[in-house]
């Protein structure tokens, strides 16, 4: 027996969860540390901006903020609407219809996720710019001039191609989980297929669409590489330019706070669309797999439709990169050095994934197993990173590093810290859903067999949430590989990663030089993406999927 055992009765009651369980102190302490760390960037930005005094209104006006504001929102709206209209039909076609090559297409349609925006932008410029490949082909048939790719059009194209997979993944998950009996009931009541989709399927998909849209909007808000190469000024690129071009960084800090406000507005907007209906299945038991809708002769057209974004978002860009690489090798052109940046990228991405999952674990366990006002506060505070664009986190950590944590400044640890803050929500989410599948009775069984709570976590909980930890880690790895602004701002001088070296070559329009590095980046990022996509594919081929079985057994 422990001393805390004896005196637990007199511990402060605020720590108690709603079902009367008291979380172990080590869990609370580590979750509190994580939550506190996640709050550092915003707190520091606030301090910094307040110390700028009343000048900040002036500062905002000087930066021509209103116009940038308008441009940013226009881009967000366009990208979100187009992404949803691209993703929802693809989701339906790959889950509910009998298009040919369904499985292949369903994996391929998510893969544009691996392209970093700045790589996608370079290939888009190569293909569709006034001097691009497409113009060359079209001149032959008399088309004199394509619409200008630079500006809103190009930025929208690049961002839609990169972000529609977010909506696709969430909507597809919802479609798979949806009880086919609902649609069958509608059909039995005399609704035709189109009417059923509008009256039953679409409303059921609303939370998934809203969730996916939020990811798209936040990504669009935070993207730097793509919009900068396509010369469309948004809030994020304005901040980056301010940061890089001026010595006084107060303006960047103040603008970052405005960016935080926009992100919070988007988050609240998503909460607003949820409404009050219940969307989970009301009955228990396994979901019957539904019959796929027979498209008849149209199914080839459906497959072709799914193929279009795959073509534009994956095959053509990779083709351009391969073309550059081959041409470069044949002509003995200078290419970017690969070995060191690749090693660095791999190293920091793995570290970031590991650190993030480990930081997420106490927060997730506390949030799922010991629900209380405090555990909710911890969880909410880490979700801040979800709405914070990389540039904001990075900037505040620069200030923080220079003024407070000097030894960390210019080390990779501050960079890792930024990644952890940015990507914590992704891994907490994955761990959370994994934990929900593990019955608390299993942990109690372990405790009744003589293991302390601390040891139960390591011998039972952690092994059982491994699938979620792996998925979360894979997501963090992918996001870290692609992340640009934070990497640019926080990398120690001389520390080259793949994304940073590609960016510096691309921003000087030495696109061809980037070919080998960009291809490597896409390939490495493809590994976790493939893992995530195939994992979500547990239709029936994946009968060996341990995570499914574990979930089944425990329920």
């Amino acid at each position: 027996m422990t001393i805390s055992g004896v005196f637990s009765g007199v511990m402060p009651l605020g720590w108690k969860s709603t079902d009367g369980k008291r979380p172990p102190a080590f869990l609370v302490a580590s979750a509190a540390a994580v939550a506190l760390a996640a709050l550092i960037p915003v707190a520091y930005l606030l301090v910094r901006s307040v110390s700028a005094g009343s000048d900040w209104i002036d500062i905002i006006w000087r930066a021509n903020t209103a116009a940038v504001f308008g441009r940013t929102f226009l881009l967000i709206a366009l990208v979100t609407v187009i992404s949803v209209s691209v993703a929802v039909p693809i989701a339906w076609l790959t889950v509910k219809s009998n298009i040919p090559l369904r499985r292949v297409l369903s994996v391929a349609s998510v893969l544009p996720l691996v392209m970093p925006s700045f790589v996608m932008a370079t290939t888009v410029i190569e293909m569709y710019s006034p001097k691009g490949v497409l113009q060359g082909w079209l001149s032959a048939i008399g088309v004199e001039r394509l619409p200008d790719i630079y500006g809103l059009g190009g930025a929208t194209l690049v961002l839609v191609l990169m972000t529609y997979p977010y909506v696709l993944l969430t909507v597809r998950g919802a479609l798979r989980r949806m009880d086919p009996a609902l649609e069958e009931a509608a059909r039995a009541m005399g609704y035709g297929p189109v009417h059923t989709f509008r009256a039953v399927t679409l409303p059921m998909l609303r939370p998934a669409i809203a969730g996916g849209s939020l990811l798209v909007a936040l990504y669009t808000l935070s993207d730097f590489g793509g919009v900068a190469l396509l010369r469309y000024q948004t809030f994020t690129s304005t901040i980056m330019i301010q940061y890089q071009s001026s010595i006084d960084r107060t303006l960047a800090a103040v603008l970052s706070l405005v960016l935080v406000v926009i992100a919070v507005m988007l988050l609240m907007g998503e909460g607003f669309t949820r409404g009050r209906g219940a969307y989970h299945r009301s009955t228990v038991g396994a979901v019957r797999s539904s019959r796929r809708f027979d498209l008849g002769r149209w199914r080839w057209l459906g497959a072709a439709g799914v193929g279009v974004p795959v073509m534009i978002g994956l095959i053509i860009p990779v083709g351009v990169l391969v073309h550059w690489l081959v041409r470069g090798l044949l002509n003995d052109q200078e290419l970017l050095p690969l070995l060191i940046p690749a090693r660095n990228s791999l190293y920091i991405s793995l570290l970031a994934a590991l650190a993030t999952v480990m930081a997420a674990l106490p927060v997730a366990i506390l949030a799922v197993r010991f629900q209380s006002r405090m555990s909710k506060f911890f969880e909410r505070s880490i979700y801040i990173g979800f709405g914070l664009p990389g540039v904001v986190v990075a900037l505040s950590l620069v200030f923080f590093g220079i003024n407070v944590a000097r030894p960390l400044y210019q080390s990779i640890w501050l960079l890792i810290f930024a990644y952890v803050v940015l990507f914590l929500p992704a891994s907490v989410g994955a761990l959370r859903s994994s934990l929900l599948q593990v019955s608390p009775r299993v942990e109690e069984a372990a405790q009744s067999l003589g293991r302390s709570q601390w040891r139960v976590i390591f011998s039972v909980t952690v092994p059982l949430v491994m699938p979620g930890a792996l998925a979360g880690g894979a997501m963090v790895f992918l996001l870290t590989m692609k992340e640009l602004p934070a990497t640019l701002i926080l990398s120690p001088i001389g520390y080259r990663t793949l994304s940073a070296s590609i960016w510096s070559a691309a921003s000087e329009a030495f696109f061809a030089k980037t070919a080998a590095a960009a291809l490597l980046l896409v390939l490495v990022a493809g590994v976790p993406t493939a893992y995530l996509t195939l994992r979500g594919h547990g239709d029936k081929a994946d009968a060996s999927d341990r995570s499914n079985e574990i979930g089944e057994t425990v329920r």
């Binding site: 709603t18 009367g20 009744s448 709570q453 057994t553």
Partner: protein, 389 residues
């Protein structure tokens, strides 16, 4: 409890001068002892969940002696699982004393965590570890033993529950009944002070349930394990237990052998929980109760005292009633609404004029048919139990 593999000492692992007793001594709180502490002893226990106005259990008293098999029988929501979780240490008590193996493990100021109570627990959904094999599940609680002793103990335990040969299976490869057996093996392997079973048969189908019930009773008998079973199934409680504790709302209403409780329920509530019956209102006068089904000789159980002219509830059990075809203008009769022939016995459903349905179970024959008016009496002079309203 003595297992074939038991070590010499079956005391709790707590240090002799346990901190709990030291704390209670320091705080000058009298440690209640009634001479006998038993293996599990709950005294005046109250347990509250935060945010709820009423306690989940209150003034809960239960003493389980070594080797005894005791069931807590109660409706869902009565607090019986809370009582079990209090013993196991998953819930903290707000007042009263919980003792396990003679040691104070729970009170308003002491709470020994579950991992230090040495209690074997079998959960309703078994809660086997899905990431471990059967053998590893059983081995889980043996972490304090040296490796060779650990592996030597797995085989006899699995053999005892009839699961030899399944050592390397994973949990999802077992049927419900097999999972149940492994759960019991896992709970018994560390040689616990007591075994707690939380609705262990509710996830199984009816036939399997009866067979497994007998097997488990046999296993428990062989090991001599002190056992507490929590259930809402009276058949289960009656068939397995040495004693039954019937729970009303939040506390135990009656405790005794199955026969005692069945034959002498202390309240209408206990009577309803312990066996199928109907409670019909009547007026008590001179040892007789007058009801709409007729007049019956009565007896009064426990401390219930009833005076003449008092309104009572009379306990009508199918096996204690008799029916015969009623005369033309006889009062206080019922109509046979249904007859189910079961071979040796027939069960009749008798609709009284108020609409109440009485069940009567008697030897077949004597030609009573559906639609007959019948007169109801108690069989073999047996007396009808009455409770004050």
């Amino acid at each position: 409890m003595r297992m074939p593999w038991s070590r010499k000492s079956t005391n709790l692992k707590l240090p002799p001068a346990s901190v709990a007793d030291a704390a209670s001594a320091a705080l000058a709180i009298p440690v209640p002892t009634d001479g006998e502490t038993g293996v599990i002893h709950l005294q005046g226990v109250e347990c509250r969940y935060p945010g709820s106005d009423s306690p989940a259990i209150s003034d809960f008293n239960l003493l389980i002696r070594p080797g005894e098999f005791v069931s807590i029988l109660g409706r869902s929501g009565a607090g019986k699982t809370t009582a079990l979780r209090v013993v196991a240490g998953f819930e903290q008590v707000s007042s009263g004393y919980v003792r396990v193996g003679g040691q104070l493990v729970g009170s308003s100021f002491v709470h020994i965590p579950p991992d230090q109570r040495r209690i074997g627990l079998v959960f309703q959904d078994y809660a086997l570890f899905p990431h471990l094999t059967v053998a590893k599940n059983v081995e889980f609680g043996l972490k304090d033993l040296p490796a060779d002793e650990r592996s030597a103990r797995i085989a006899p335990v699995l053999d005892m529950v009839g699961m030899s040969g399944y050592e390397s299976r994973y949990v999802h490869e077992l049927s419900g009944g097999q999972q149940q057996r492994v759960a019991i093996a896992r709970a018994l392997a560390p040689d616990p002070v007591a075994l707690l079973l939380d609705e262990p048969f509710s996830n199984l189908d009816r036939q399997l349930r009866a067979a497994l019930r007998r097997d488990i009773k046999e296993i428990v008998r062989k090991t001599g394990a002190t056992t507490l079973l929590v259930t809402h199934d009276r058949e289960e409680a009656l068939a397995t237990s040495d004693r039954i504790a019937v729970m009303g709302q939040n506390s135990i209403e009656q405790i005794g052998t199955p026969e005692e409780v069945y034959q002498n329920p202390v309240s209408a509530d206990v009577a309803k929980l312990i066996g199928p019956c109907e409670l019909i209102p009547g007026v008590f006068r001179g040892g007789i109760v007058m009801t709409e089904a007729g007049a019956f000789p009565t007896r009064v159980t426990a401390d219930n005292s009833i005076s003449d002219g008092q309104q009572v509830l009379s306990l009508m059990r199918a096996s204690e009633l008799e029916i015969e075809v009623a005369g033309e203008d006889e009062q206080r009769t019922g109509t046979v609404e249904l007859r189910e022939f079961e071979g040796e016995f027939s069960e009749y459903a008798i609709r009284l004029d108020s609409g109440t349905l009485l069940r009567v179970r008697r030897r077949a024959a004597n030609g009573i048919k559906v639609g007959n008016r019948v007169k109801i009496s108690s069989r073999d002079e047996s007396k009808v139990i009455v409770f004050p309203v």
